[in-house]
């Protein structure tokens, strides 16, 4: 599909990784980061009309919109954003398994936000001086710092709120903990990142919030026991296929159409 005027004018960035003189691995990295943002944005958007309080409808939509904006810049660095979002098969997506996990209850969503936004913040900070991703990272890190703050504020309130909220928040963290290790497997094209240091910062930050929230740092493993790999290798969890089916259905039903 050739990009229509619609999609090119809509894309926030027109510079491609190739145009920036970056190696092919930059495209791989742009896809990995772009897919993370795209998929998490989609999950958060599923909250529309279902949030626990009106103020939170607005907050969750803000985060989802920030992420979608990031996704559009990143995917456009690789290729046409819509072609990538709507016409790839499940196995071609390289997002983390963490971001594709269904919303669950509000605590589950907040746990996912805490684990991911803390990672994303430190990652973008590490990419600040990167020739390819630096400009995006500089803008996105401000947005993500706010996402992290939102997640922390809610983790503290749910953890140290009522017995029920404490139990739900702990359950959310316990369930998602096993998806957190994957975030620190090096991504080709992001050579500026020291992954061990990133992981150490992440652990210290997340652990501190969990403890302040009177919760317990989960004891389970931080990796799934599957030698084939995980999201970055295009291996996803079952709910992801359904999510993509819903997301891509209309676009695929009208091949070549403009929207």
């Amino acid at each position: 599909m050739t990009p229509t005027p619609e999609t090119t004018t809509g894309a926030p960035a027109t510079a491609t990784a190739a145009a920036a003189g970056a190696p092919a691995t930059a495209t791989t990295a742009a896809l990995a980061l772009g897919d993370d943002a795209l998929v998490l944005s989609h999950r958060l958007a599923e909250w529309a009309g279902h949030a626990p309080v009106l103020e939170e409808e607005v907050a969750l939509a803000n985060i989802a919109l920030d992420l979608l904006g990031q996704a559009r810049v990143l995917l456009s660095m690789a290729r046409d954003e819509d072609e990538l979002a709507y016409l790839r098969e499940e196995r071609a997506f390289t997002n983390l398994q963490l971001v594709e996990q269904p919303n669950g209850d509000f605590a589950h969503t907040i746990a996912r936000q805490l684990l991911f936004s803390t990672y994303q913040r430190f990652l973008y900070e590490a990419l600040a001086g990167d020739p390819v991703f630096g400009p995006l990272a500089a803008k996105a890190v401000k947005e993500v710092a706010y996402h992290q703050d939102h997640a922390e504020q809610w983790t503290l309130r749910l953890g140290d709120g009522t017995d029920e909220s404490h139990r739900r928040m702990q359950r959310g963290l316990d369930a998602l903990w096993r998806y957190s290790g994957e975030m620190f497997r090096p991504v080709a094209g992001l050579e500026a990142v020291n992954w061990q240091e990133l992981e150490a910062r992440w652990l210290a930050s997340v652990n501190a919030v969990i403890e302040r929230a009177t919760l317990t740092v989960p004891e389970g493993p931080r990796h799934g026991a599957w030698a084939a790999g995980a999201g970055r290798q295009g291996l996803h969890t079952e709910p992801f296929g359904r999510m993509l089916a819903e997301m891509q259905h209309l676009h695929r039903s009208h091949p070549g159409a403009s929207w």
Partner: protein, 94 residues
């Protein structure tokens, strides 16, 4: 335990050099979340550079019934306003 959150009044400074102006209200369990909700709600089109949130219950207002005694004394002091003074034509920078 009740889940009713108190009401907060939101004041937004739209840009440096201007005062905070009342933008509206919202509900939040505490000041920190009130501030964040205000940011999301009242500045999502970059309408502000600074926000105040105040519990609505902390505001003491003048009563509309007291309107006259409260504000009228100021109305009979026109000498506080520059237009009170007559200046000959042609005099500038005053």
């Amino acid at each position: 335990m009740s889940g009713d959150w108190p009401l907060w009044e939101v004041f937004v400074r739209s840009r440096r050099g201007l005062s905070h102006t009342h933008a509206g209200s919202l509900h939040a369990p505490d000041a920190e979340l009130a501030l964040r909700n205000a940011r999301d709600l009242y500045t999502r089109r970059s309408e502000g550079v600074s926000i105040w949130v105040v519990p609505s219950s902390a505001i003491t207002a003048s009563s509309p019934d007291e309107k006259d005694p409260f504000f009228e004394p100021a109305a009979d002091k026109p000498y506080r306003h520059p237009t009170f003074y007559e200046i000959p034509d042609g005099v500038k920078h005053l």
